[in-house]
Amino acid sequence: MELFLTAILILAAAALVTALLAALASFCPPSAANCRTANCLGSCCAALGCLTGLCAVAAGPWDATLILELPWGLPAGALVLGLDPLSRIFLLPVFGLGMVCAVSGGLSLRHTSPREHNLGAHWFFYLLLLLGMVVVMSARDAVLFLLAWEIMSLAPFFLIDFNDGDSKVRDASWVYLVAAHLGAVALIAFFGLLWQSAGTTSLAALQGGQALREAGPGVLAALFILAVLGFGAKAGLAPLHVWLPEAHPAAPSHVSALLSGAMINAGLYGLMRSLNVLSALWIAPEWWGWSLLLLGLATGLMGILKALAQSNLKRLLAYSSVENMGLMFMGVGAGLIGQSSGNAWIALLGFTGALLHMLNHAGFKGLLFLCAGEVLHATGTVHMELLGGLQKRLPLLGAAFALGAAAIACLPPLSGFAGEFVLALAMLDGPSLPGVERQMGLLLALTGLALISGLAAALYAKAYGITFLGEARTGFAANAHAASWRTLWPLGLPALACVAGGLLAPLFFGLASFTALNAAPLPDGLMAGALEARAQVRGSLGMVSLLGAAGLCLALALLLARRLLLRRRGAPVARTAQSVQTWGCGFQAGTPRIQYTDASFSEPLARVFAPVMGLRVRRRQVSGLFPDRAALNVTAPDRLRSGLFTPLFEAVERLCNACKIIQHGKIHLYILYILATVVGLLVWGLHT
């Protein structure tokens, strides 16, 4: 626990110093030295703090529950931090990605001109975000939790707004701010109601649900709905996901990697924490689990289809985060269903699958966002239709992206498969539930999962294939700067996580299942079954990793055999590779522009899923004998944003404008308001 506190102190101290530097930079004329110091100090201290934090999380037995109570000056709440398995497993991506993103961000920002950006401020908010996440995941008091949540929600606003010269970026950060605060409103209501009905703000006292024994089912249902709204907004649950595809492309890539890999997990963390409070051991009503499962399935399908429609690489990744959060929510839903129907297998594997997928998602999504950042850095754009052929120019980066893409497309033996395997196993036991509608519900959800993963493979084939393979489509890609290993080495850690998550899957499964049993405890009667299930699934995962490794060896052997065969023929591969043009069916004057683009790649699926993907096609067709230039433009605007939220907010604006009658600018009438309020309050207070 001391180590954990040290990590927090390092981060806080670094935040203070960077704040000073930021103040210095804004009052004095901008200097390169200040900028460089801020960048160096900020990134190194963030990395150091995270490394310490990682040690703190990994130190000691995983199930040790540590509590640290510090003095607190406020009337409500207490400054209590704690580490238990659930906190630990969610802190792993926070610290791990925090470290990688800090180093990578420091490297990518090292040539920033001090006139354009105040790096001190940037690193201050980065550290603040890290601190906020750390405290959120370890707070043991509702008031502290909410405060940290606010800090965690506010800091990204300034981080997203890094390139504030661009109006789109400013818009995106506003969208983020509004979404974060709407979620926070639900959370404040949630904790207020919790406080009122349980009488305490200490999360430790609430744990296990003993405090809520007397609360009626109506209160519990209201609490559940508020929690899903509040935490779902952070996690990007449809239809509250609209901020993700705006914020992630706008933010610098190391920030979007951290947001997508670690911060949105806070939604899942909060939900699991509050479910532990609300569902005092298997009393959760059945509809909670089903609604979460359905919400997760809908989010997953919507996310992956919208991702397929995107042409901006970072927007695509953002929608893919929405999809992955959907999968995790499916897992939580299945876990709740298992709990309420007394099925140890489904309960254990549902929660475990969600946690395992969360861990793996942090690895590959962090890797992919950082790669996208490097692509942006090297070429100046992340629009896939302008790129292509980057594999030749940036071979290392291409390999890293390919690895991440294969992992997130759930291809064995990489990490994405392990999480989905556990989720699928959880839902496979659907036939043991009572009633055909429940059985079919779980099995059809599993079919939905299969569809999602099939679409994910198509999506990432597109993301990698269009961006990195083929010929450079425009000058952006053709004139890409080379990226040396000196800037790319921070990507090694998430890349390693992608491989290790697959090949060491039993290890991570053990961790996640232990956490799941601890965070969502099962009644004693089911414990034996759960332990049995854990042992069996661990054995299965062991076979998966074994076969995965065998498959890798087999693939290597085949490639080697091919090489040998070619050698024997005396036909050096290198010579042919330089000389031959790709066969164009006899057409010799092909240009890179005739290649398939991202929009054309996803066209067959866009036809089938047209209502969800919502492509907007604008075309100017060839007509007449002497035609003009023809054009085709395919975009995929978010319909939920334009169809649901924009009208909603416009209505609110109209309502607020209507209220402006009472704001007329006459001071004496304002004083009358005050008088009326005071009198009214007096009357009310004396009356009761």
Binding site: L425, L443, L469, E532, A533, Q536, L547, R569, G590, Q595
Partner: protein
């Protein structure tokens, strides 16, 4: 090594040896329908032998993704095949949930080939890659639906015999093809016959046979798989051809595994082999009597298969 493992290894060896025979049978049947003599039955073997002796031509656009694609795809298909119970013998590698691994391994192979196609930078191959990605994504849930039906059958069996400890073992391919499905349909549960039917449709879809794709014409704008592998040559093309034959064997063995009644070991294996060869002939017949579907109709075909599979799934849940 016990007897079962040896027997399985023999079966696997037979599959690896005989797989290239299937395209030969299909072509022979098609030729007979068209009133031609046709290529020799062993043509695929000759092709493979010749391709392995040739050098490769690699376009200047291509990178290692292009060169490595076929090898990775073949390795994935081999691993998937090794998980499948063959000729009634359970796979020694089988474990609970291995059908998920097998399905995703096939996905891995497809992914590698799609990337290899995009790596050539030809719009033609991009077209094939895009279609392959789309249709395989749509075929995935159908495959899962059938597997789910089979798992719920084997779970049923486990529950009735009361070995709840073996829950996870019931989720393996070897348990699914343990003969209970065949016994059940022989006893009058006709809905189980939908499973081999859907497997057969999936065989046509995944192996790019006629109502979905025409394996004989490379150069039409409507093609899928063949367009995708157009630029490969030499050993890489050999690996693709052999991988395609293995995949055909994989799906044919899935279908045959459900159709073969439980018999003594050698008889069952022989019958299974016969059914696989007969299925190849059936593919030839289908290819001869049917026209290719329009591309926009292929999702309908898959949707129909999904509907049949879910009907079977619902009915197995009830009983």
């Amino acid at each position: 090594m016990n007897q079962g493992t040896v027997f399985y290894l023999i079966q696997l060896f037979l599959a690896l040896i005989l797989a290239p025979l299937l395209p030969g049978i299909i072509n022979r049947v098609k030729a007979r329908f068209a009133g031609r003599q046709g290529k020799p039955l062993l043509q695929t073997y000759y092709d493979l032998a010749r391709l392995l002796r040739k050098g490769e031509v690699i376009g200047r656009t291509a990178t290692w993704t292009f060169s490595a694609g076929p090898g990775v795809a073949l390795a994935a298909t081999l691993c998937a095949l090794a998980l499948l119970p063959l000729g009634g013998a359970p796979s020694p590698l089988g474990f609970g949930g291995d059908f998920l691994l097998a399905a995703y391994l096939l996905g891995m192979g497809r992914f590698a080939l799609i990337l290899a196609a995009l790596d050539t930078g030809s719009s033609f191959e991009g077209m094939g890659a895009s279609r392959e990605a789309a249709f395989s994504a749509l075929a995935e849930p159908v495959l899962f639906l059938v597997f789910l039906m089979l798992t719920s059958l084997s779970l049923d069996l486990v529950r009735h015999t009361g070995q709840s400890a073996e829950l996870v073992a019931a989720l393996s391919l070897s348990a699914m093809f343990g003969g209970q499905a065949t016994e059940a349909w022989l006893a009058g549960r006709a809905e189980l016959l939908l499973a081999p039917a859907v497997f057969f449709v999936l065989l046509l879809v995944e192996n790019c046979r006629i109502p979905v794709d025409d394996p004989n014409t490379h150069l039409e704008l409507t093609m899928i798989h063949e367009v995708m592998v157009l630029d490969h040559s030499g050993p890489n093309l050999a690996m693709i051809v052999y991988g395609a034959a293995l995949k055909l064997w994989f799906f044919a063995a899935l279908t045959a595994g459900l159709l073969t009644p439980p018999l003594p070991l050698w008889q069952q294996a022989g019958l299974c082999l016969l059914i696989i060869l007969a299925l190849a002939a059936a593919v030839g017949v289908v290819e001869s009597v049917m026209a290719r579907l329009r591309l926009t109709r292929i999702p309908h075909l898959l949707g129909g298969a999904a509907a049949l599979a879910s009907l079977a799934l619902i009915l197995t849940q009830v009983r």
